[in-house]
């Protein structure tokens, strides 16, 4: 099973790399989004605003990046999966791949965000942990939502409608945690939020693991 998950991840990466326009498109999307926020804000003095804007950028980037997660798969490929793999492998593989993709894109966002709008973060290590946990949480929610939306049609608008309410609790905790990281608050204060995030990161993929097979059989 683990090797099959590895295969799925490798396949996703190969497809992504073979057709680089998608990832290039995302990078340009991030850059232009950042530039728009730079031009509209010029300078952000308030760390809370900095934090909120960062997560909003990440959120829109994630919705765009993961919308295609199931859309690009042809009928034939789905049939191939259906015959050779079990659904759990597919969803877990995709969650992991999308999580890594989001984290890399998130780091890119952070880099350019820092260049353009400055960086008030005091505890950068904590911030990166939050980003990492957040990317995996968002990835596991949105991969599943993307699977639902791709079955429902009306892809892009459906992603946002279905995804945002479910992402809200996750985002609130993330924003809280990263605000603590910006203010350089002690690690012991953050532990309860971190455990909450980690437990959500376990619960959501577990739910996807259980529920995805139902979407699968059509």
């Amino acid at each position: 099973m683990v090797s099959q998950i590895g295969l799925i991840i490798a396949k996703e990466w190969k497809l992504e790399w073979r057709n680089r326009s998608a990832i290039a498109g995302l990078s340009v999307y991030i850059l232009s989004g950042l530039y728009i926020s730079y031009l509209s804000f010029k300078k952000i003095a308030d760390p809370a605003t900095w934090n909120a804007l960062f997560w909003i950028l990440i959120l829109f980037m994630a919705v765009n990046a993961l919308a295609k997660s199931f859309m690009t798969e042809s009928r034939g490929l789905q049939l191939f999966y259906y015959t050779f793999l079990n659904p759990q492998v597919v969803i877990i593989g995709k969650i992991i791949y999308n999580g890594v993709l989001l984290f890399v894109l998130g780091l890119l966002t952070l880099l350019f965000y820092t260049i353009l709008l400055g960086n008030p973060v005091q505890d950068i290590f904590m911030f990166l942990i939050t980003l990492f946990a957040g990317c995996f949480g968002i990835s596991s929610v949105l991969t599943m939502i993307s699977a639902i939306a791709s079955r429902a049609g009306h892809q892009s608008s459906m992603m946002a409608i279905l995804g945002f309410p479910v992402l809200l609790p996750l985002l609130i905790i993330l924003i809280h945690l990263s605000k603590n990281a910006i203010d350089g608050i002690e690690f012991s204060v953050n532990v309860k939020y971190l455990t909450l995030i980690l437990s959500l990161n376990l619960i959501v993929p577990a739910l996807a693991f259980i529920l995805f097979p139902y979407l699968w059989r059509e």
């Binding site: 079955r151 429902a152 279905l162 309410p165 479910v166 609790p169 609130i172 739910l207 529920l211």
Partner: protein
């Protein structure tokens, strides 16, 4: 029901600073949430039931229960907003419970949109059931776990004492507990009638 309405407005209540007579709203606002949660849990149960045996009737029931639940949610929000205006001074405050309920309402709105967007009956049932079961635990985390970790203006959270401790006198209890039952049963009754109407509707449409 009538007992709740009449007693709710007429029986004496303990006089408290700030709250004053608005404490009577306890019988309506708080009980709405009990009714809403009951309905939503039932709709989740039917969704899970549908996923295990894929009978469309379970899906229909899940939809009806979540619709009634949504009505109670909106009613709870409105009564809560009126209460908040007179006690906290604003219709909407940045409070974790309010945020949680807003998110839950958004989620149910998304659920109904998802239902309307898919044409095929079986597919619609399957997709919406999966969505509901997927979103529900996150909502629960939001409504029940998060408020206990952060400050809230609501009683029982963030250092505020819960209602029951000192301001629910026995008179109020006599109205409050039956009120919970009354509203919940009213909701369940409405839903079962709606389910029966839907069943009849389906039968007549099939026979035509």
């Amino acid at each position: 029901m009538f007992y709740t309405l009449i007693a709710g407005f007429l029986l004496p209540v303990p006089e408290l600073p700030i709250l004053n007579e608005t404490i009577r709203n306890l019988y309506f606002h708080v009980t709405m949430w009990f009714a809403m949660i009951t309905h939503m849990v039932i709709s989740i149960a039917y969704s899970i039931k549908f996923l295990t045996n894929s009978e469309l009737k379970n899906d229909m029931k899940a939809e009806q229960y979540s619709q009634t639940g949504m009505v109670f949610g909106v009613a709870g929000l409105i009564t809560g907003m009126i209460w908040a205006k007179f006690t906290w001074g604003a219709f909407w405050v940045n409070d974790t419970k309010l945020n949680g309920v807003a998110a839950a309402m958004l989620m149910y709105a998304a659920y109904f949109i998802l239902r309307n967007a898919t044409d095929d009956e079986n597919k619609r049932a399957k997709l919406s059931a999966v969505y509901l079961v997927f979103a529900f635990p996150l909502m629960m985390a939001f409504i029940f776990i998060l408020p206990r970790m952060t400050d809230s203006l609501h009683p029982g959270n963030g250092g505020n004492p819960a209602f029951g401790q000192y301001d629910l006198d026995n008179n109020m209890r006599m109205v409050f507990y039956p009120a919970i039952f009354a509203w919940t049963l009213l909701g369940l009754w409405i839903t079962t009638i709606r389910i029966r109407i839907k069943n009849l509707w389906n039968e007549t449409n099939l026979s035509e």
